[in-house]
Symmetry: C2
């Protein structure tokens, strides 16, 4: 079984006209993370954090949503600052996630915790959150601080919820969906909403863009879960079947566990410790069982359903660079570029 | 060698007239940490966090400093809210600290990480910080958010700095002092400063109270370091010589390491792994060496020096309940009640 999911690292280049903005976001991130008094330890960790900069999909969403508002042009710099804040929140969550997941790699590079230890990683994440609080206060963005505070809270809730479900093969798909909503989707919604509100969109447009953000968030996370079934560590910077071995049962697995055919065997494998002999072979068997039970097709279909809904909502918005960019993003998440 | 350091758990009762305020602080903490949608995992962790409520020394400092301002009475509720915020910042730092220290106990109770795992502890701490950000924004306290953002950043810096010094017997005392300044003292200063500014103290009084907070912070932390040499786990909720075994060399040890007499043997012990046979006996020998080298006396003298400076600054302030309370706090930290 082969599943085609392309790497999205080049997603930025595919959305035309946003490169200057994303360069601004990038330099604001550097500015926000830079400190006058960088002593050895802090400076090394921060520089590593900066180097593991991601795809910047959240600032991209913020800027694309902002294109629908009348204030986009005059407020470009301000929007880029907000984009930097959203990305730093994401970076902090990645650092703390990696502690939980015990991930040695993130995007093919050693994680902060792998390189500096869990201890450093805890405080590096806290450091980023404190920077976000500081900069929002400094810029007088208390409305944004309010929603970002709530967003971080929900993200924690999602992580705690996911942890509570670990190694539980009876996790309901609704609970899984609620966990990924908090963990991932909410920040996609928040990015779109912040961009739309800041650029002066009317209420209906804000709501529509937030809804599109929700679909994109689900697409992104379910796709990320699928990547755990297919990715090549060298290419994607992730290791295969790590979620399953960690007891994190994602949509393909949970769907398969719900089908009577091979669910018994799948449960058996889930009950075997990851250190056991021939565990690698068991994971291959698990992959086959999930595929045979339709788990991968189901997850893929869910992505397509969200794409369709997002496209419908997008079609009702005026045609501009924002709409074009969001359509391209949907294509990328479907690998139909 | 016996060192008398009393438990400060009853410190609150000793400052008269502040019990109603501290009850308000307590109920604001509950209110700030309470959420409508408490699902199982989050609720359990938050309830545990609430139960490990500490001595509330930081809100106490804030309220005592506020007594010097003309706005104390009309702004009492607001000051209590600020006190709750400061205490939540402290609680978050404790949860993340315990991850680093691998502490099984905090004040005689199992730590969050011991009870729920490191993973839960990471997000429980993040959750508290996000709550702080949310509530400061909600109350329109952007000036306070600014300084608290900076404070959390410095606290991280202190923890990272302390980590960078682990197992390094050549750590200079100045570096140790700079680490505890960031890790602990800064939040004492911040508590005093927030209380003084919010209640409308003039600039000179704010500066004086902040300086007193600095002395109290050093007294508190050096005393806490001394507790690692003498505490009875049942009574104090701490385990003896844990800092040393973890490679965290505090003032008594660093001073002793600087004295030629027994420094060589002390270095040898520092180089032996904590899992080695008879490690307990080695720690007893270490304790003797530190005492013989004057490390404990030196640390104790430092506490007394800060007390003297704090008292001098306090004497220049008008006599009121705030001054009385701060004087009592100094006595408690000196065990001269």
């Amino acid at each position: 079984m082969h599943i085609e999911v392309n790497n999205m690292n080049n997603i930025l280049q595919s959305v035309e006209g946003l490169n200057p903005e994303l360069d601004f976001v990038d330099s604001y991130i550097n500015e926000f993370l830079c400190t006058e008094e960088e002593t050895g330890a802090v400076a090394r960790v921060l520089s590593e954090v900066s180097n593991t900069r991601g795809k910047m999909i959240r600032p991209l969403l913020l800027l694309l949503a902002a294109r629908f508002g009348p204030q986009y042009e005059p407020l470009r710099r301000q929007l880029c600052k907000l984009g930097a804040v959203i990305e730093i929140v994401h970076m902090a969550s990645l650092i703390h996630d990696d502690i939980i997941d015990d991930s040695p790699l993130r995007r093919g590079r050693p994680t902060v915790q792998q390189k500096f230890g869990k201890d450093m990683a805890v405080f590096a994440g806290d450091f980023l959150i404190s920077r976000v609080m500081y900069h929002l206060a400094k810029e007088g963005m208390s409305r944004e601080a309010l929603t970002i505070g709530q967003t971080i809270e929900k993200m924690c809730r999602g992580e705690l919820g996911q942890m509570a479900c670990r190694f539980d093969p009876d996790t309901a798909i609704e609970i899984y969906l609620s966990n990924i909503y908090n963990k991932t989707v909410i920040l996609f919604i928040e990015a779109m909403q912040l961009g739309a509100v800041a650029s002066g969109c009317d209420e209906a447009t804000v709501r529509r863009l937030a809804a599109i953000g929700e679909h994109l968030g689900y697409m992104f996370q379910i796709r990320d879960d699928l990547l755990d079934f297919i990715s090549d560590p060298a290419k994607e910077g992730k290791t295969v079947h790590k979620d399953f071995a960690d007891g994190i049962y994602t949509l393909p697995v949970l769907y398969a566990l719900d089908q009577p055919a091979y669910a018994k065997r799948l449960r058996e494998i889930a009950g075997i410790e990851s250190g056991s002999p021939h565990y690698g072979e068991l994971l291959e068997e698990m992959q086959e069982l999930v595929a045979q039970n339709g788990g991968i097709d189901y997850a893929w279909q869910e992505i397509k359903n969200h794409a369709e809904k997002a496209r419908l909502k997008l079609a009702a918005l005026p045609g501009n660079g924002g709409r074009e960019g969001l359509n391209r993003l949907i294509c990328q998440l479907l690998d139909q570029e």
